[in-house]
């Protein structure tokens, strides 16, 4: 074998391990929830409400839903009624366009907007137990329903921005979200499988966190790992990315509250 052909074989082998070219999006039939990459024990933990620790947050959320709050002395239930009926399918549609603000809002921001405008109460802090509990409780009402964000002329610019962000190479190691979650999903990073990155079960209980956390907490983790600039919770860049990820996972089933390792 000549030295030249040896080089070509090596290059081909390297290409098979890490594909740095921009591969196509994952075909709808090939999409997999992070659930399918988990071990049997963790899957069983998620499937049974008696063992899913996310249910502790659901119970807190149910209490908060019914509790009167703020200067308006009003509870979520006073306006929206019983959550299982009124909140069915809501989490599957977020992030959504808020006409009053002229901006894209995620579910947490929607809950906090209700809190400050309708209940006249202090908004909850991002990642506070209360905000996570209410978001999980609202999310649970969409469990099993297909993800279906509204894409129209109002949300299209935000979707495009999120798409761009997903494919943008950034940070000290010059990596994009797509390079892991489109091009190398199913391969391993160190010992851990790289999932396709579909936000089907948020807010979810992560064993690593020993707690429930939001999608933005996960996104900030990823940006930290990429050694890229992180954004504050609620930053427009993260909400746009949320919309793109939900659109990318459209028609997949909501699993909230999911369990992940």
């Amino acid at each position: 074998m000549s030295a030249r052909s040896g080089c070509l074989v090596l290059a081909a082998a390297a290409g098979a391990v890490l594909q740095f070219t921009h591969a196509a999006e994952i075909a709808p039939a090939e999409r997999r929830s992070g659930y399918e990459y988990m071990g049997r024990d963790t899957r069983l933990m998620q499937d049974d409400d008696a063992t899913n620790p996310g249910m502790l947050w659901v119970l807190d959320g149910e209490t908060l839903w019914k509790r009167k709050a703020g200067a308006a002395e009003r509870s979520c239930q006073d306006c929206h009624g019983e959550a299982p009926a009124s909140m069915r399918g809501v989490a599957a549609r977020y992030p959504a366009f808020d006409a009053a603000r002229g901006a894209l809002v995620n579910l947490e921001q929607r809950i906090n907007a209700c809190r400050s405008e309708r209940q006249k109460a202090e908004p909850f802090k991002y990642e506070s137990r209360e905000l996570l509990a209410l978001t999980v409780y609202v999310g649970l009402q969409s469990r099993g329903l297909p993800i279906a964000p509204t894409i129209d002329e109002k949300t299209r610019p935000f979707l495009d921005a999120g798409d761009k962000f997903f494919h943008l190479r950034q940070g000290q190691i010059n990596l994009s979200c797509a390079q892991c979650h489109d091009d190398n999903a199913g391969h391993r990073l160190a010992g851990t499988p790289i999932p396709q990155g579909h936000p089907t079960g948020y807010p979810l209980y992560r064993l690593e966190w020993q707690s429930v956390g939001s999608l933005q907490r996960r996104l900030r983790n990823c940006l930290f790992g990429m050694r890229a600039q992180s954004y504050e919770f609620g930053a427009p860049q993260l909400v746009e990315l949320e919309l793109y990820l939900m659109w990318r996972a459209r028609d997949m089933k909501i699993e909230t509250p999911a369990v992940r390792p």
Binding site: D48, A50, T51, L56, L59
Partner: protein, 106 residues
């Protein structure tokens, strides 16, 4: 907000083995971690879990710092008579939660 979830059958036949699953919301801070400033975070864990069946202790567990947050404790017992099962979690900083669940045996 202290929260527990108990899952067990409401009804059983005499002599039947029933499975009981419990989840308790608790941070289970080990006492070995430090803050960003190097200060030790004090230990805050559940120390003991006891289940009594009509006043008779049927299951007990001692918990230690290596146990994960929101501990799941699952165990079996034999359904002997109708009555009440009581569950008690006791821990550091005065943590004490008691919960009861009825069972009908016939």
């Amino acid at each position: 907000m202290s929260r527990v979830v108990i899952t067990m059958p409401k009804q059983a036949r005499p002599g039947e083995i029933i499975e009981i699953k419990t989840l308790a919301a608790h941070a289970m801070e080990t006492g070995f971690r430090r803050t960003e400033r190097g200060e030790l975070l004090p230990r805050d864990i559940i120390r003991r879990f006891v289940c009594s069946y009509n006043g008779v202790e049927v299951f007990r567990a001692e918990l230690h710092p290596a146990i994960a947050a929101n501990p799941l404790i699952a165990f079996n017992t034999v359904a002997t008579e109708s009555g009440t099962l009581s569950f008690q979690w006791i821990g550091d900083n005065g943590f004490a939660v008691t919960e009861t669940a009825p069972i009908r045996v016939e």
